[in-house]
Symmetry: C2
Subunit: 375 residues, 2 copies
């Protein structure tokens, strides 16, 4: 089991208390048709999750007959409920198509959130479709111009760093990057329980004058903000654990995430080739394989579960299409953590407070004109 | 020795013929003060290079006394000449400062190129300063709006892919990306001797509609061009060897390159930690270490030498500050290859031809008006 799964599990245990003191169950809607492995993997993921998390109910949204077939002769535990959805959106279909197909599993799952019948949503399906449906059906939190997808990157330090946006937006403006930083910082503080989390801006040099025009402007906004901004970092520092939160435009974030995922395959293949070379290294590789596998998993984002979508009015997690049942259970656990931490409400109240402060300042400016020099 | 060094050496051997048929030596100016290891590493790199490449002369530009001290009691072979330069630019000094310091080693080295006393330039110094000095002193090739830095990325296939721009430009316009593609394609064809090299555009989805606004426009330009354009690829495919040339804006290219470099340190540290765990894996790691080291080197861009700066009137290579003598010798070999291949002249004639074609087409349009339908 990778360090990732350990990290999510520890997080879930920490947030269990919150769930038990509230007394009512946490209901997560799972898009059972999403992901490359279909209903079977989603069903198995839900079974693992409910066995582990107390006070958790999973609503499996998908084709009833396929889910029953996947279940076989086993019985469904009472913590899992099947919600029938006739339609399912393919991984490569246009994202906006989901909105025109009211019976598809993604839409039905989002609607459970809208009606309050579920507190969190997890989908391993078409990322664009989940983002678009959540945006339209749930709406944005007031004050957030663009929601962002975040993920955790492993670091050399014991704790991972939050990186966002990893693909919900391209052509971000400086103000968007500022709001990614605010949301990431709140997530680090409220969900991961880090005090006064540090925020870094991804650039191509430490100096504020380095970077493209958006990054240079974003640097100024971040420096003026109340966040614990520690300056620019370069791509090489992402895995160093230099900051709790690293912000960037979704084009760059997505490219790096995909590159990191791709490099696992690269290392695996090269290692495999090396292994065949001689008997000594073959013996070595057998002994090392456990450690090596673990090392590779450290970089395998599919293991970790999913990417929270911050800035919409609800708790939404988009997972990797390739997710295994274990990864799906992990994404459900993460959703359970987010619901208990009420991250969406905390972002909303932060944005409200920020708006009030700005308004108060404006009023003060009008009421108290700048004092003139007595001389 | 990594696969990289093997690749450059093989390339140099292939281009030796060109050098011997021409009959005159290839002169490379080496900025001896550049890089973190100073004159000693540069001197050692030059010694390795001249011993390997026939018909190669290296002009070491730097402080004479420091270079003589580094040489100790050894004799300088006749293929190495010291050109005294009193001043040296620090790695973290502003790039444009070089232009105001006529006695610094970078400027003196660039001037050797301008005066024709050297055919190629190699520097492990401040990237920005080398790019700025080359741009101002040598000038751009007509038709190239912005020069680009390129590098080779290892791939799962036997041959590496060219990636550019890796940091000479930010906020690239679609036309800049087209010209990166043209220069990269010429490099692949003329220097690496690949027939009809494939060109891919880095984006966040295979579809032409995916990506930011610059990438979407660049996709259209590339599709209309005469290049062998194979479409968009995502970050995860960079190491798959899908295309000979991968084009992107310098902000993205630099971030990925730095991330890739940073991930080596990450893998090394994690592997080291794993090693200590138990006796079995320790024994394993001793056996594996050779293979593992090789694997890590595959990803170590410092090993490979340097990044050619394409689009200026001259052969310029910027190396990694951390370069070892072996890496420096490798960069010199690469410069030797570029000089023999006359890549700068080939880019210039491609751009001239393109301009003529456009003009001819315009003339044809004026001379032959579009035929009207005879009916």
């Amino acid at each position: 089991m990778g360090r990732w799964i350990y990290y999510t599990k520890r997080l879930a245990r920490r947030w269990e208390k919150e769930s038990t003191t509230r007394g009512e169950p946490v209901v997560i809607a799972l898009d059972a048709m999403g992901g490359d492995r279909g209903p079977t993997a989603n069903l198995e993921g839900a079974l693992i999750a409910v066995a582990e998390q107390p006070g958790l109910i999973v609503k499996l949204v998908g084709r009833q007959d396929e889910l029953k077939e996947a279940l076989g002769k086993s019985f469904l535990p009472e913590e899992i409920e099947i919600i029938h959805a006739e339609d399912a959106l393919g991984m490569n279909e246009p994202a906006t198509l989901a909105l025109r197909r009211p019976n598809c599993s993604i839409i039905k799952a989002v609607e459970l959130l809208v009606s309050g019948k579920a507190h969190g949503l997890v989908s391993m399906g078409n990322t664009g479709a989940v983002v678009a449906s959540s945006l339209v059906k749930l709406g944005k939190i007031g004050g957030v111009e663009r929601p962002a997808l975040m993920t955790l990157f492993p670091t050399l330090e014991k704790r991972p760093s939050i990186v966002l946006d990893i693909g919900a937006n391209v052509d971000s403006r400086p103000e968007h990057i500022l709001s990614f930083a605010e949301m990431g910082s709140l997530y680090a503080e409220e969900v991961l329980e880090r005090k006064r989390p540090t925020v870094a801006l991804l650039s191509i040099g430490a100096e504020p004058t380095k970077g493209n025009s958006t990054v240079k402007e974003a640097h100024k906004l971040l420096r003026k903000s109340t966040l614990n901004f520690v300056g620019n970092i370069e791509g090489g520092e992402i895995l160093h654990g230099t900051a709790d939160v690293i912000v960037t435009d979704g084009f760059v974030g997505n490219t790096i995430l995909k590159f990191a995922e791709g490099s696992i395959g690269f290392f695996k293949r090269i290692a495999k080739k090396g292994r065949r070379k001689n008997l000594f290294s073959m013996a070595g590789s057998v002994l090392m394989s456990g450690g090596f596998k673990k090392l590779m998993r450290e970089f395998d984002y599919a293991e970790y579960g999913g990417a929270p979508l911050l800035g919409v009015r609800g708790n939404v997690i988009v997972g990797h299409g390739k997710s295994t049942p274990l990864a799906i259970s992990n994404a459900i656990s993460l959703s359970y953590v987010m619901v208990n931490a009420q991250i969406d409400k905390k972002i909303a109240s932060y944005m409200r407070l920020k708006k009030e402060n700005v308004e108060n300042e404006n009023i003060r400016d009008r009421v108290e004109p700048p004092r003139e020099n007595p001389d």
